[in-house]
Symmetry: C2
Subunit: 355 residues, 2 copies
């Protein structure tokens, strides 16, 4: 067994504290990865607080990690000890179902769905699986099947690579799904970890015009520095009205339930809004007239596939895109969580786990 | 003025009775069209009963007409007296806005939106426009701007051409929007006027497998006769479960609000459900998890564009597709409305207005 030091929330706690646990050593095509950096995601808050009702305790968060391979199972073929790698939201899946075979492990249709990097199975299956609890990357190491590990390009700073595993990948996929962005007008709702990546992707993919829509007027300057063409304060009714029917596509990175109709008004005819995240129920009941009258679409999106994770790393290197991060010490995680609760981060906290 | 005999519902009535009114003669590029056949749409019921709160009275329904040009305005260039033509849900639009210029008159963004063939402006604008009330094709004639008139191919029976103007066009557009259907599994919700067209389109467009989902088990044989590969009774929980995650795309033609989650379960990962019609609010609040967990999309759809109307006529001629109609006499409209209320029609009532 591998004795591992990490940080966990116990049931009923909204903070983490040091927690020591055991991992099985890597077998088959699993690898032991020393975690060097790991980001803090808004979903970590949701899971710590069990807001989705699926959290298993103790809860060791962390699903956007950069690290170093320190030991490999006997069947590993694609990696070697010493490789610098990333791990995202999944560490395993059935790899047998049609979704997995077609490269959508994130939509694995095996009995328990993909194995999430922490807090076990999001789709509960048999009793044994339902009791299983994975421990994430706010810890010294991870054990991950090689299919779920990606190589980090040389020269990419690891504290910047880590967030590409989650907010990078999770915004890259929906943006690609919009299709060719040339000549298109795009709005990004929310300018946090995912939003500030989505903004950079939209510009790099050739969108004609990209607006950031945020409740936080103080983020205006940062939006323009990151390449935005416009900044819209979502609570400013006049400004919102002036952008009615303006955008071909909207990507929402708002991490909490909201009023969909408020933003549908911004879409052009036949436009699409993609809403990221397991938000739960919308704030009001959807009226099909709001979609039908102008032929609008609503798409839901969650985590990306492994292939998308690889693609986002290449894309970021090619286009010199990187997340803006605030690196923190392990002892300051709870303070960072407090600041994240009030959106006080530009734009991603990354925990330095080791050198 | 042109004295016209039609059938109208007065406020508070759910039936129609003979009603005589005056139309302005055609001016500019308008044409006078003698109505020969006109279909009965489920939305006629909704409008007669003012279920959408937008009905103007007297209400002369009829928005899927086949007829003959009997007189043309001085600026008409594309038609001549004697032409056999069709008119759908619109008779005018601003033709100046970006939507109109790009061929989406159905999404006209002029002050009052497109001019609906009957019951005036669906999108209320200035007071004068809001008071305007158009009278539809359950009458001897229509006056329509030529841009909103399509030629009916020779040899196409007019009673079969009429329904192509509404259920034909309105299902053809969404089916095209799904993209290439080769190898795709499609479900059609509802087997009425629109559903029985959508089924034929899906097969002709190359879908690998098309299922009809209906509450009416008695429609099973008809579904197979029209080319369906499967018939699913939507209230049969076991059968519904056996088709979970089966379909790439679903087109809903259900004309009343329903429980979206019940049908989202049928979609494959990253699948799309398009819901036709101004249904109003869904029966339950949408949970974004239901879309996000499997990357699903929901699209709303209403009436088609003029270009789509032309395309559907060509497509039907090329692929020998026609609606199944039950032609009725003018005096039997109210009886047909009663039967339509209980879905007792295979599959479209068409009123014979004149020879």
């Amino acid at each position: 067994m591998i004795t591992t030091n990490g940080y966990a929330a116990q049931k009923g706690e909204h903070t983490v504290s040091p927690f020591t646990f055991e991992r099985d050593p890597p077998k088959g095509n699993e690898m032991l990865i020393q975690v060097l950096y790991c980001g803090i995601c808004h979903s970590d808050l949701e899971l710590l607080e069990n807001n989705w009702g699926i959290t298993k305790y103790p809860c060791v968060p962390g699903h956007e990690a950069a690290g170093r391979v320190t030991s490999i199972g006997p069947e590993v073929t694609k990696f070697a000890v010493g490789d610098i790698v990333g791990v995202g939201c999944m560490i395993d899946s059935c790899l047998q179902c049609q979704a997995c075979k077609e490269g959508w492990e994130n939509h694995c249709e095996g009995p328990n769905g993909p194995t999430m990097t922490y807090s076990g199975y999001l789709s509960p299956g048999d009793k044994e699986a339902a009791e299983y609890n994975t421990f994430g990357a706010w810890s010294d190491n991870l054990v991950v099947r090689e299919e779920f590990v990606v190589k980090i390009p040389e020269n990419m700073p690891l504290e910047e690579a880590a967030p590409l595993m989650c907010p990078g990948t999770d915004t890259f996929g929906p943006m690609r799904r919009f299709g060719d962005l040339s000549g298109k007008r795009i709005a990004i709702l929310g300018l946090g970890g995912p939003g500030h990546m989505a903004l950079q992707f939209a510009k790099a993919m050739g969108a004609e015009y990209v607006a950031v829509v945020s409740t936080h007027a103080a983020k205006r300057d940062a939006a323009f520095q990151l390449g935005a063409d416009e900044f819209i304060v979502s609570t400013d009714a006049d400004q919102m009205r002036s952008f009615a029917k303006s955008f071909h596509h909207i990507l929402s990175t708002i991490p909490v339930p909201f009023d969909l109709a408020h933003y549908l008004a911004l879409l052009r005819r036949r436009g699409t809004i993609t809403v990221m995240g397991l938000l739960g129920p919308y704030k009001s009941i959807l009226n099909n007239i709001d979609l039908a009258a102008r032929g609008l679409s609503l798409t839901g999106s969650m985590i990306g596939s492994v292939a998308e994770t690889k693609e986002v790393l290449d894309f970021c290197q090619k286009h010199s895109i990187s997340p803006l991060v605030e690196v923190i010490d392990k002892k300051d995680i709870n303070q960072a969580l407090e600041r994240l609760r009030v959106a006080d981060v530009r734009f991603r906290f990354v925990i330095k786990i080791a050198e």
